[in-house]
Amino acid sequence: MDVAALFAEHHTALFRYLARWTGDPDVAADAAQEAFVKLLERPPKPGETRAWLFRVGTNAARESERTRSRRSRLLEEAPDRAPMGDAPLAPDARLAAGERRRVVQQALAGLPERDRTMLLMREEGFSHREIAEAVGTTTKSVGTMIARALDKLAAELRLDEEDI
């Protein structure tokens, strides 16, 4: 097993998913790291690596006490990192970006864990079958649950506006 190659292939997406899932880049980085270390310990079957990493990473993130404390701090904390691929922002723009990030994180944190997991796994391109296996439901239930979760977020994040 070429762990370095698997790391190069999956780490960015895993971190991105975990950062959204936890709302805390530090917890996400630790959880992603732990998932890869466990890959050495207990490698999954070939072809299941990606879903396995996301599952183990999610479990690691959940176990982190820092996740819980982070959620309680969401309202108070200012952003300290720029979004992926963006140039450094001017102070005003940074404040607006920070506020937007806080609103998104808060909306995601307000979803039931299963809904959040489903939406974020879908965002990473997992199939409905993979999502169903991860959250313990049937494949044909996934679409309904995703639609419901999108409805929940729509008002809070103004998803129906053309220019978000």
């Binding site: 190069a8 960015t12 599952r55 691929g85 959250v135 639609a147």
Partner: protein
């Protein structure tokens, strides 16, 4: 399969399946044909699409950058930018090897002794990788295989009835999910918060291969609403087999 009566609409679930390209070509075509003549469904599809895109955009704008470099990232052979300096690559390799070595009992004992700490502080996590999402019952799905993650250390297997033949075979697995594989037939497989219900028929002769993760300590098997039989993990690991052709004693 999507079959609609006149004046019926496509469900939200099927619209999301359509949006995500999940259905087979025939299902996609049927949905597409319905959408061409149904304004409410078309509007709902547009709404779901707009919301999906809006969420994607917001997530892309607000997700922090991944940290770099990383111990494991440092083991890469320079796919992006300059390769790490040799000392960093060497240190990373040592850390990765040490991480793996710490999983071995003799190495843990040696390191614990060296550092003067208890072995348990160095041991790999012994808790199972369990998703703790409280599951709500899902709709039964006829099929031959279902996989789910247990929410505790006990899994319940509720089997609708005894059969004309067949058996349940248990085995220990290496992944964190429970897998139920139906062999020689099909059954309605319904994932429950506590485990799974197998909707079989008395005429069936199917076998059921049940694979359990290491974290599950016991399985509670109930057939036909009778008294449960508890199968401990040790017997699961030993390949326990329960005959479904007669009442279990």
């Amino acid at each position: 399969m999507l079959t609609l009566l006149p004046n019926e609409h496509v469900s939200d679930g099927d619209l999301v399946r359509f949006l995500d390209g999940e259905g087979d070509p025939a299902e996609q075509e049927r949905t597409d044909a319905h959408l061409r003549g149904c304004q409410p469904c078309t509007q709902r599809l547009q709404s779901l699409r707009r919301r999906s895109r809006g969420l994607s955009l917001l997530l892309a704008q607000t997700t922090p950058a991944a940290p770099e470099p990383d111990v494991l990232a440092a083991t890469r052979t320079g796919k992006r930018g300059q390769a790490s300096p040799p000392w960093l690559r060497a240190a990373a390799a040592v850390l990765v090897v040490l991480s793996a070595a710490l999983l071995a009992e003799p190495v843990r004992a040696w390191v614990a002794d060296l550092l003067g700490i208890g072995q348990t502080e160095l041991a790999a996590p012994t808790q199972p990788e369990l998703w703790t999402t409280p599951l709500t019952p899902s709709a039964p799905e006829a099929g031959t295989r279902v996989q789910f993650t247990p929410t505790g250390v006990e899994v319940e297997l509720d089997i609708a009835s005894y059969q004309a033949g067949g058996a349940i075979r248990f085995e220990a697995g290496e992944v964190p999910e429970v897998t139920v594989q139906v062999q020689g037939g099909t059954a309605d497989l319904l994932v429950l918060p506590s485990g799974i219900r197998i909707g079989n028929t008395p005429e069936s002769t199917a076998d059921y291969q049940v694979t359990l993760p290491a974290g599950v300590r016991q399985v509670r098997v109930r057939v036909g609403g009778g008294a449960p039989r508890v199968i401990p993990a040790a017997r699961v690991a030993a390949g326990e087999r329960l005959d479904l052709a007669r009442p279990m004693r």
